[in-house]
């Protein structure tokens, strides 16, 4: 049974119509001990069902640990979003199933890096970010509801 209603699927399809760069989602998974990996896979499939511009690359956390580590992901389910044919790292990561409001965060991230929606940061913020020269990792803790 699909997670998204037909109306929501159509809304997604329309939002994705503006995609100008393909998106690759690296999906770090593991066979045993990942309670939400199946749910995450289903959520990601719902996205790829409505657009060919988003592809999923599954990486097994145990069998392909080096590749997962190259994205800084040591948990499953974990997502890394890459943009363009060149699969440029957007430095956007998600740990845990992108369910509830987090699903919209994932969609927003895809729309942003694919060119379908513009960067919405203010000029002041962009100026501040230009002054960031040291690596900065920002964890944002959320819950599904």
């Amino acid at each position: 049974m699909a997670l998204l209603s037909a109306t929501d699927q159509q809304a997604l399809r329309e939002a994705f119509a503006g995609i100008t760069r393909p998106v690759t989602i690296v999906f770090v998974t593991q066979t045993i001990g990942c309670e939400t990996c199946d749910e995450t896979r289903q959520i990601l499939t719902e996205i790829t069902d409505v657009t060919p511009q988003v592809t999923i690359e599954e990486v097994n956390l145990v069998l392909e640990s080096e590749r997962a580590a190259s994205y800084g992901i040591d948990r499953a389910p974990g997502l890394a979003i890459l943009a363009g044919e060149e699969k440029a790292d957007t430095r956007i990561r998600m740990l845990g199933a992108p369910s509830g409001y987090d699903f919209m965060s994932l969609i927003d991230a895809i729309l942003l890096v694919s060119g379908a929606s513009p960067q919405r940061l203010s000029a002041e913020t962009e100026a501040r970010l230009a002054g960031v020269t040291d690596p900065l990792t920002v964890h944002v803790f959320v819950t599904p509801t």
Binding site: Q119, T125, V140
Partner: protein
């Protein structure tokens, strides 16, 4: 911000799935933002305030 800056990595974490990470960063409510520079922000803030909390206030000489 991660997309806009090559130095910033953004990691959204489902606190209910990764209790150890939530405990490590003393997450008592969501959303909670914890940055590697020591900044901690509990709650959702407007963009400008969030950026100031995260990166610190703009230095006085930078405002001239």
């Amino acid at each position: 911000m991660a997309f806009a800056s090559e130095h910033i990595t953004s990691i959204t974490v489902q606190a209910t799935e990764f209790h150890d990470l939530a405990r490590k960063h003393r997450v008592s409510g969501v959303p909670k933002t914890v940055a590697s520079n020591g900044a901690e922000i509990l709650g959702a803030y407007p963009e400008q305030q969030f950026v100031e909390e995260l990166l610190g206030p703009v230095a006085p000489d930078a405002q001239s």
